[in-house]
């Protein structure tokens, strides 16, 4: 990689950081409890819009895992999400009415909060429908992982997005607040993913899964990216580039081994396909606030009308992280 290209990436990172700095004015604090944060705390960052129904389980899940403080940006919810979050003792909330799309799908807001509060902390950046799993997550809390990463001089941890779906129609079983979404959306595709390398930023580009199989079979190149790097020991100079798919500096994107070995990695169980989905898809279709002209939602909407069934004979039912490790979707690496 030449000097010019490297300098180009540096400028790009600076531009994102500057955007984040500019967009900080769009965030109005609703409740700021950041004075509670201690030096070794693990922080979680998240943008929400009308996700009130998911949040009780989301908060419980991550609190039990060992996250100490939550940062939410509420993008103009109308279902009481902001009020629910403001009541939580370990949550800081900011509110904004501004465009999700024009803040690069929330990343400018996230980058600002990360830069302002995340420095020198392990930071987990996830969506409200993503549940993070990592090797030994049933017996070791998240600080065990971050301590190990720290001792191994690893700064970023990859967790591939794994789309979960129910058997039968997506809207067949209604989701209740506080319920584990995996009870309904408990199936996933285990072995139809494709990987490509992005030589400029160094990250892998993963596609596939049920969304590619059902909604994007005719144009696989447009299928959503599934590679994610949600857990990073943050430094105020870092910036997420596009969603949490990749970061700059590019060294953080080398979460994979190129010489045949396996690095440790986890998974983000993506529980988007619940009973709440159809409604959401319709709304997003109207708002057009999502990536690439909400291309994804256009595809869903047309696919959902005739046969909203993602399940197939070879779908796997989710059991635990060990199953994912055996299937080769994540790895323990040399953490034993």
């Amino acid at each position: 990689m030449g000097v010019v290209q490297r300098y180009g990436l540096r400028l790009r990172r600076k531009r994102w950081r500057f955007r984040a700095f500019r967009k900080r004015r769009e965030l109005k604090p609703v409740s700021n409890r950041t004075d509670q944060i201690r030096k070794s705390d693990i922080l979680l960052f998240c943008t929400v819009r009308n996700e009130g129904i998911r949040l009780p389980y989301f908060l419980k899940y991550y609190r039990e895992m060992g996250v100490s403080h939550f940062f939410f940006v509420d993008n103009d919810s109308t279902d009481g999400t902001a009020e629910l979050l403001a009541q939580q003792p370990d949550v800081s909330v900011w509110h904004t009415r501004k465009s999700y799309k024009r803040s690069r799908f929330g990343m400018d807001w996230m980058n600002w909060l990360l830069r302002r509060y995340g420095h020198d902390h392990w930071c987990l950046t996830v969506d409200p429908d993503e549940l993070f799993v990592y090797p030994f997550c049933d017996s070791r809390p998240l600080p065990a992982l971050t301590d190990w990463l720290e001792a191994s001089s690893i700064r970023s941890f990859s967790a591939m997005l794994l789309d979960m779906y129910p058997k039968g129609r997506i809207d067949a079983v209604p989701y209740q607040a506080g319920q584990n979404p995996l009870e309904i959306a408990s199936w996933f595709d285990s072995g139809n993913y494709t990987l490509k390398r992005n030589h400029l930023l160094g990250n892998l580009w993963i596609q596939g899964g049920p969304r590619a199989r059902v909604f994007f079979a005719d144009r696989p190149e447009a299928a959503p990216a599934l590679n994610k790097i949600p857990l990073v020991k943050w430094h105020h100079r870092y910036a997420y580039a596009s969603s949490t798919h990749m970061l700059l500096p590019r060294g953080l994107n080398y979460v994979y081994d190129e010489w045949g070995g396996e690095k440790a990695s986890g998974a983000l169980l993506h529980t988007k396909f619940l009973s709440t989905f159809n409604e959401k898809a319709m709304e997003e279709l109207k708002r057009r606030e999502h990536y690439a002209g909400s291309l994804e939602y256009v595809a869903y909407a047309s696919g959902l009308q005739d046969n909203p069934e993602l399940w197939c004979k070879w779908s796997e039912k989710y059991i635990n992280w060990r199953q994912l490790e055996i299937l080769g979707l994540m790895s323990m690496g040399n953490w034993a």
Partner: protein
């Protein structure tokens, strides 16, 4: 008698305190060295908390950077303090603040009482062990290392390089043979005192001060001078990963640690409450009196190192994406590829499945869709038969298929109609066993009723593609196992060829084939080829077919007489 514990602590001081009290409760004096990086305030609180314990002392603090002299200086000072303050101590055990005793202290005391003159210290000459990480084994004793490996890696490496280029070698003090091993030892008072009171200690210290990682070689080398009986094994269970960093134990290792029968384990995660609670609470009863046996733990951690360095063959995922030729197995398992067989035999696929028990697919890379076995539209791992999805990344389609069906032999058909380039993925894969009957694509043309002009055009095109495929299989980059027959060659003696292929799949070894697949009727095929030739399109891939009708049933059941066989 009693054992003196020297403890080097730098973080998680509350755990160090807990363990220190555990030792003193059993009557073992403890000398604690606290790293200089711990703030004075925290150090003061720590010492005050332990001030009520008469068996605890604190030694002079040093800065203990990994791989530097500070660790040795700290051990020396603490050991001296131990030997002078506690007369009754017969053995000194060096531990760290994150070590945890796994067996009752009394068992350790009894164990050492039975071996009063034995020094437990892992100590091996550099030439004999492959432990070193980073390639510096002997050189660590003959070079100088003024730069930190952790913080100034670049300068460290350059300085090593310069010394290598100039052939710089330090002189090793007379009488010393460099040894190295685990830094966690247990020495007898005699040996330790001899080392610390050696008249030449100044010389040795000066020398080791500039050795790389002296904590793994200072005591290990000097013990060889004085000890009468060395058992070259550490009593501390400590496992290292591929970077030379200790593995950490967590709550879920409880059963493993219990069964290891080791006295002390390192290193324990400071929040592993279950481990600390279990092992620091004295349990009544059973003294095990067993020799330490960390076999199972060894295997688990060896597996972890293997996974990190070699990984699982044929797996491509978010944290394993090997560069080409570094895959350690392009695909997950051996598989067989057939070209021209379904064309030549009417029932080849079911026949092969029956004979070998393997999963036999049709044309996986056909233009319309992937023809999976049994007409399925989705395969293991939810792999779709959609041609667009498949052709988006054919190599990943192949590797996914083989990864998803590990444990079951896969066979599939290939042909000139298959997706382009996939032949290269197959040719370069040592797991592929490719059998080709060249020119068999002409059979479906021969059987069809299409206009001759159309057939001629298609034949020319298929022949061109198949020639390219054969070139790929025969190229110097090809690593697959290949067998190529012309069609004429093959129908000379089809059973021999098929027997070889079936044996290679090897599900039922040494099975003699009794039932043959049914060959299509080739009457008039020679004439068909001749017609093509007459139209100016020379089909050459199928070998020599005479224009006159060939034998009706070329599968010769008749055994040729073998003159060398003696009949009874």
């Amino acid at each position: 008698m009693s054992i003196g514990i020297v403890m080097l602590a730098h973080t998680a001081l509350h755990r160090a305190e807990q363990v220190a009290r555990h030792w003193t409760k059993a009557g073992c004096p403890v000398v604690i060295h606290v790293d200089q990086i711990v703030s004075n305030k925290r150090y003061k609180i720590f010492t005050e908390r332990l001030s009520d314990d008469p068996l605890v002392r604190f030694s002079r603090r040093h800065r203990c950077d990994w791989g530097t002299w500070g660790l040795v200086a700290a051990s020396q000072d603490a050991s001296e303090l131990m030997l002078s303050e506690f007369e009754e101590v017969t053995h000194v055990y060096l531990t760290s603040g994150s070590c945890l005793p796994l067996r009752p202290v009394q068992e350790l005391i009894d164990y050492l009482k039975a071996r009063p003159r034995t020094d437990h210290i892992e100590s091996a000459t550099t030439a004999d062990v492959p432990w070193t990480v980073g390639g510096l084994d002997e050189e660590r004793f003959t070079m100088r290392f003024p730069f930190s490996w952790r913080r100034n890696r670049y300068l460290f490496d350059r300085f090593v390089e310069i010394q290598r280029n100039f052939g710089y070698r330090r002189k090793i003090p007379d009488g010393l043979t460099p040894h190295m091993g685990s830094q966690w030892w247990c020495l007898t008072r005699q040996t330790l005192a001899s080392i610390l009171e050696d008249p030449k200690r100044k010389t040795y210290d000066r020398y080791f001060r500039h050795v790389w990682i002296p904590d793994e070689s200072y005591f290990q080398t000097l013990a060889r001078l004085y000890s009468t009986n060395i058992v070259s094994r550490s009593l501390t269970l400590s496992k290292f990963d591929f970077q030379g960093k200790p593995h950490i134990f967590y709550d879920d290792h409880l059963q493993l640690l219990r069964r290891s029968d080791c006295f002390v384990a390192r290193k324990i995660w400071h929040n592993a409450d279950v481990l600390y609670d279990t092992f620091l609470t004295p349990k009544p009863g059973e003294l095990s009196l067993q020799e330490p046996n960390p076999g199972k733990i060894d295997r688990i951690f060896a597996k972890a190192v293997d996974r990190r360095t070699r990984g699982r063959s044929g797996l491509y995922m978010q944290s394993r994406f090997p560069n080409e030729d570094w895959e350690n197995g392009v695909t997950a398992a051996k598989y067989s590829v057939f070209q021209g067989f379904t064309e030549l035999f009417t029932d080849f696929e079911p026949w092969l499945a029956q004979v070998t028990g393997a999963r036999v697919h049709g044309h996986l890379f056909a233009p319309d869709r992937a023809h999976f076995a049994d007409g399925q539209t989705v395969m293991n791992g939810a792999l779709s038969d959609n041609a667009t999805l498949r052709d988006y990344d054919t190599k990943m389609f192949l590797t996914n298929l083989l990864w998803n069906t590990r444990g079951e032999r896969q066979c599939f058909q290939l042909g000139p109609n298959s997706t382009e380039h996939v032949i290269w993925d197959i040719a370069k894969d040592p797991n592929a066993q490719v059998s080709v009957i060249s020119g068999a694509w002409a059979i479906p043309l021969f059987q069809s009723n299409r206009s001759f002009g159309e057939l001629r055009r298609e034949a020319a095109q298929l022949q061109k593609i198949e020639t390219g495929m054969l070139d790929a299989l025969r190229s110097p980059y090809s690593k697959c196992r290949r067998r190529i027959w012309t069609m004429a060659e093959f129908i000379e003696s089809p059973m021999e060829a098929i027997q070889v292929i079936v044996d290679e799949i090897g599900s039922q070894p040494n099975r003699i084939l009794t039932e043959a697949p049914r060959m299509v009727d080739l009457t008039g095929f020679g004439q068909f080829l001749q017609n093509l030739k007459n139209q100016g399109m020379h089909p050459y891939l199928m070998g020599d077919f005479p224009a006159d009708p060939i034998a009706q049933n070329p599968v010769r059941e008749v055994q040729r007489p073998r003159p060398y066989l003696v009949k009874k």
